[in-house]
Symmetry: C2
């Protein structure tokens, strides 16, 4: 690993995730400058070859690329506002919402900095492996200029020029994660009443999730075209089966809140006249706040 052939990188913020990011850059041979409010958090990284910066300004000055991983966007502004950002390239991997990301992009532009917003779809131990998916949004040219360096962190993706996209994909992806886990827990709770252990049921749940995931691109065409012909089944058929799921859950004494919410949303779409259409017609219900009283 010849440090001189790799782009120098700065990492600001050395929490659990920040330390993982800096460690991955070091491991990939990038000269790595680090800064943290509590300087001692850099000790292990410095022992591994990182260069500690005395101030945030010095840290940003040290490298052509600065990665930011702080608690929240307020911390980003508090720390970087006093610094000269002119000509800096910032990649902000701090967790936040899409409005904060877009606002930070405007702020960076006013300060003369280039800016990418990012979201880390991984836990710290996965950083530096292909399994760590890191989403980026903002100008494509800025992403492409630094893609090879960012790739030291994991599987890096550019979602589009809208700086809000990384955080939107992030929370949307988490919604999928919790949904798959909750559905699996619902099924596991039901099957355990019949003495089926979780390990026996898991492969079936996995197969089901993978199978349904494969329908999404086709179903997406219905949403984009705005037409929902019941090619596979009609929403009212789903609603009847939802009633079975609710009644079975109740009869078994397991939780029925998730099935009831599914049914409530389907019922609203049916009441709006969509019972004969296919499931993705529910996009209308998901695209507006819930009814008064339920939200």
């Amino acid at each position: 690993m010849n440090h001189e052939t790799k782009t120098a990188v700065t990492v600001i913020g050395l929490g659990l995730m920040g330390r993982a990011l800096a460690g991955a850059f070091l491991k990939a041979g990038h000269p790595t400058t680090v800064w943290n409010r509590t300087a001692s958090k850099a000790d292990q990284l410095v022992a591994e070859g990182a260069r500690p910066a005395a101030t945030v300004a010095e840290a940003i000055e040290a490298s052509p690329l600065t990665i930011i991983c702080l608690t929240d966007y307020q911390a980003v502004h508090d720390l970087l506002d006093p610094c000269d950002l002119d000509g800096a390239m910032l990649v902000n991997l701090t967790s936040g919402d899409s409005a904060q990301a877009r606002q930070a992009a405007r702020w960076a532009a006013q300060r003369g900095a280039r800016y990418l917003d990012g979201a880390i779809m991984a836990v710290p131990p996965a950083i530096g492996t292909d399994e760590a998916v890191i989403l980026h949004s903002g100008p494509l040219a800025d992403f492409e200029s630094h893609e090879a360096t960012l790739a030291a962190l994991g599987t890096v993706t550019h979602l589009g020029t809208d700086h809000g996209l990384a955080s939107l994909y992030d929370v949307a992806g988490l919604a999928m994660m919790w949904s798959v886990l909750n559905a699996w827990l619902q099924g596991t709770a039901m099957l355990r009443t019949a003495g089926v252990d979780a390990a026996t049921y898991a492969p079936f749940a996995m197969q089901m999730a993978v199978g349904v995931a494969g329908w999404l691109p086709g179903y997406a065409e219905q949403i984009d075209s705005g037409a929902f012909p019941a090619e596979v089944s009609a929403l009212e058929t789903d609603a009847r089966a939802m009633t079975h799921l609710i009644e079975e859950s109740e009869a078994l004494g397991v939780n029925a809140e998730l099935p009831r919410l599914f049914k409530a949303m389907a019922d609203r779409a049916i009441a709006a006249g969509h019972g004969g259409e296919q499931y993705p017609v529910l996009i209308d219900e998901f695209s507006r706040p819930g009814k008064a009283g339920t939200e």
Copy 2:
């Protein structure tokens, strides 16, 4: 296709699904006897080679294997109670719950019939293809005796001897189906506010669902062992990210009911002292009815 080499089969109930089942048996070369209350529903099948039975009793008598696909279990009892079932082999694919399946198994045993309960995880057009998954539960020997014949309908599986298992796996699988679809709709609704169309977002949602599905066997080990160390992340970290999802949904003006239910269940587990444990610890919440007021 030499009809004489294949097991004869009877199909009772010729709704959309029943006709698909009988059609698949005919196509696979099984001598197929059919019966339906409204006899004209058999016309097309008879034109394709099915033998119409004048009565349910005659239909059951005609074949060593009888497939039942009626509206509900009450219809099964109403039609078959007057018949001599001694020595019959019944595979009941009628939709129902696990208690009905177990009760029907006892009823069949009292009448001298062998009985498998089944559930069809497919729409009628898929019947006869590998994509049609058909679940069976009841005595393994009875399933194995007729597996080759039942395989004409799709991918057939035996889940266990408990007759209630097919219907339990069925509704649990549907819960996964709706969950993946709803999570995808939630994400699609969010991304569309940023001008991202459904087709652009779908592959990401698909990849996320497939990735998380792969965790289930490992997470199942935590449930079976009853220990939930936070190897990947702690429930309270999930709960904080759920708050981001709720706030982002609200800010975008899309539905937030699903994220709120996720958070409510996580909060209950955290209140019960499980915030430092891993997500599958929620099995306790899924295994009991929701709190008063929410259910």
